[in-house]
């Protein structure tokens, strides 16, 4: 080890002061939602030392206030609710033993149509998620309340991040591909009937990190 290397080693032994807790908390506040965009998994017993003591929203809360995610969840929630209604409607109209179509099997065709017509008559209720059915009709056939549902609770669970290696982009530049795995959970609650519906959707995000070439 020459004299310069010894000097460098001595200098490296000097450790700069760590930023204070207050400063880290201030930083967290200033980052806002931008700080919660990229997450990493921690084992249950691991707590992120110094920085965890500051008052900040939990990752779940942080994710809830992220605007683009809220939009995505709202879309998912709407699609899920419509699908649930459609399935319930289909099952109740085909399998219910006391449905009018089944009871009047022996009746003449014209008479049967007269009975069925009012229940499936086309309605242009703009509030209804199903075309051709009013909200009242929907409620009758699905045996589920239409109004009185609370806002859905949306929860994103980060599962893992996988580094899939380096790829060449169409532009010729290299990029590292990282895949994030999530589970999106949506819970609809109806307090009056004590009904809860849970929908879980797996989701993946692929992120390309551009690499510098030298």
């Amino acid at each position: 080890m020459n004299e310069f290397e010894k000097l460098e080693a001595e200098l490296k032994e000097l450790r700069p002061l760590e930023p204070s807790q207050q400063f880290t908390a201030r930083l967290e506040k200033a980052l806002g939602d931008a700080g919660n965009v990229a997450m990493r998994c921690l084992p249950d017993d691991e707590v992120s030392g110094a920085t965890h003591q500051s008052a900040h929203p939990s990752p779940k809360e942080g994710n809830l206030v992220s605007f683009p995610r809220l939009l995505a969840f709202a879309g998912l929630a709407g699609t899920g609710l419509a699908a649930v209604w459609a399935i319930i409607f289909y099952l109740s109209s085909n399998l219910a033993p006391d449905s009018p179509e089944r009871v009047d099997n022996d009746a003449p065709l014209l008479a049967q149509q007269e009975i069925v017509e009012p229940s499936v008559g086309f309605s242009n209720d703009p509030e209804s998620p199903l075309h051709g059915l009013s909200l009242d009709q929907l409620q009758d056939v699905s045996v589920m309340p239409v109004s009185g549902w609370l806002d859905p609770q949306i929860n994103e669970r980060f599962l893992r991040m996988v580094d899939e290696g380096i790829f060449q982009q169409p532009s010729g530049l290299p990029a590292r591909q990282v895949r994030h795995y999530f589970i999106d959970e949506t819970i609809w609650s109806h307090p009056a009937s004590d009904t809860r519906i849970l929908s879980t959707t797996p989701r993946e995000e692929v992120i390309l990190i551009e690499l510098d070439t030298y």
């Binding site: 000097l7 000097l14 930023p19 990229a38 990493r40």
Partner: protein, 175 residues
Amino acid sequence: MNSEPIWKSWFARHGAKLLLFARQQSRRPDEAEDLLQEAFVRIWRLYGHTGEVAPGLVYRAIRRLAIDWARSIDRRQARENRVALDAPLSFSFDRTLEQDERKQALLRAVERLPAQQKEVVTLKIWGELTFDEIARTLDESLNTVASRYRYALEKLKDWVPEEMEGKSENNQSSR
């Protein structure tokens, strides 16, 4: 399984080095944290979603912001702030060093370096950047940066014994 924002572990790794550099670049000691906050938040908002941000980007942002902020204050205020700049470098390091005379002498010698050499030494030794990264951070050529570093080490080699002698002379005269 818990999860936490990646920036926390990132900042735990690089925060102390960045703050040291911000202290060197800022006009006033109390401005360093503001400078680091502004630079870090800007860069993390741009690239934080990738989960991995090159520290060199934050060093460069700190330097450019420091230049911008210095331009924005008037000359008189700048002169006054120059006085405040004289906070010893040892304030930015672990206080237990006060017990170690050799390390104190090292820091005093680093403090005597010209500003351009001092920032290269800071980025190389404590920032752990390569010469190439330092060159891009400081907008200088690779050769310039490497030369400044070499000159700085040569000076330190000569000055550290001087500083130690000076300290021991002071001690003797004070007795």
